[in-house]
């Protein structure tokens, strides 16, 4: 037996081990097919595909379980809150709800909303509206996650992309960049606030989207439902 064939068998055996028990029938079928493939290279590719399938099925079984989906709701809701945070502050400012502004300002670096006033005055209505739409999309994604529907991923991505687009476009508003510089300029540099958090803010949504995909894949196949 060639080395490639031996490796293929080893990989297929590993795939059978990794595949959830409920999918054992499929793992065995996939592995047994190896011995009916003449070409060693094709057999190796077949086994590689099998092991990828096994890991994805395993991950889906883990992330799709009710307790893990419940845990996944937390970062999802956090993202939703983050999507509407600045917009809620702006709305509160426009409605004169200083109590709300005080509470929200206390959650920001600097612990005070007053420094945001130049920005609150500048941001256009479409920016506020887009934030709430993005928040609604993320909330809808959370509902679909509870129902274990794969549309959860698309809704989440749509919400995040909309939020990002609005954040990018708002920089074109005259005077915004200068006001933002004043608001977000701090005398001291803090690693967590100025380095870790901005990077995490960009990476975490990608990570969440992957987990959502794993948690909901296969429950509603690309075919949709027959009934």
């Amino acid at each position: 037996m060639s080395l490639a064939r031996e490796i293929s068998r080893g990989i297929a055996a590993h795939a059978c081990m990794v595949m959830p028990r409920s999918r054992g029938f499929w793992a065995a079928g996939l592995a047994n097919e190896l011995d009916h493939i003449e070409d060693d290279g094709a057999a190796l590719r077949w086994a590689m595909g099998g092991v990828v399938t096994a890991y994805l099925e395993r991950a889906s079984a883990v992330f799709g379980s009710a307790p893990v989906r419940g845990l996944l709701l937390l970062p999802l809701l956090f993202e939703g809150m983050q999507a509407v945070f600045a917009q809620t502050m702006t709305l509160a400012w426009r409605l004169g709800a200083t109590g709300v502004l005080g509470v929200m300002g206390a959650q920001t670096p600097g612990d005070d909303y007053h420094r945001f006033i130049p920005l609150l005055q500048l941001v256009p209505d479409w920016y506020v509206a887009s934030g709430f739409v993005a928040g609604a999309l993320v909330l809808a994604s959370a509902v679909q996650l509870v129902r274990r529907r794969s549309t959860s991923v698309g809704l989440f991505i749509a919400g995040i992309v909309l939020g990002l687009a609005a954040e990018t476009l708002v920089h074109t508003v005259p005077g915004y960049n200068e006001a933002a510089r004043q608001v977000f300029q701090f005398k001291d540099v803090r690693t967590m606030r100025d380095l870790v958090m901005p990077i995490a803010t960009q990476i975490v949504p990608v990570f969440i989207a992957c987990l959502l995909w794993l948690a909901t894949r296969g429950t509603r196949p690309r075919m949709g439902a027959a009934n």
Partner: protein, 104 residues
């Protein structure tokens, strides 16, 4: 109310191959060759189709001695109906690759 199923190009390719001579059982590797789908794409799709009652699978004795038993697959009646709904008709002759074929 029935929801209109939506399908990917790859699922349509698989359905088209399975729908062609729907009564015939097919092996996984044969399906892979006919659709051009890799095992990592093909098997999750087979599993989903089976989960939804659109595909049936069985073990079959190998054609040659010394080889392990194999899985065979074919569409159920509802699966064949679904394939027709998806427009997976007019498929090429068996043995011809479906690679690159886009079904409506």
């Amino acid at each position: 109310m029935k929801r209109k199923p939506r399908s990917s190009k790859q699922t349509n390719q698989l359905l088209a191959v399975l729908a062609h001579d729907a009564a015939r059982w097919r092996h996984g590797y044969e399906l892979s060759q006919q659709t051009g789908l890799k095992s990592g794409t093909l098997y999750p799709m087979l599993m989903r189709l089976s989960d939804n009652g659109w595909l049936e699978a069985r073990w079959t004795e190998p054609e040659r001695e010394g080889r392990p038993a194999r899985h065979e697959y074919r569409l159920t009646d509802s699966g064949a109906g679904l394939a027709r709904e998806q427009g997976a008709a007019g498929v090429p002759e068996t043995g011809q690759s479906m690679k690159g074929v886009v079904l409506a």
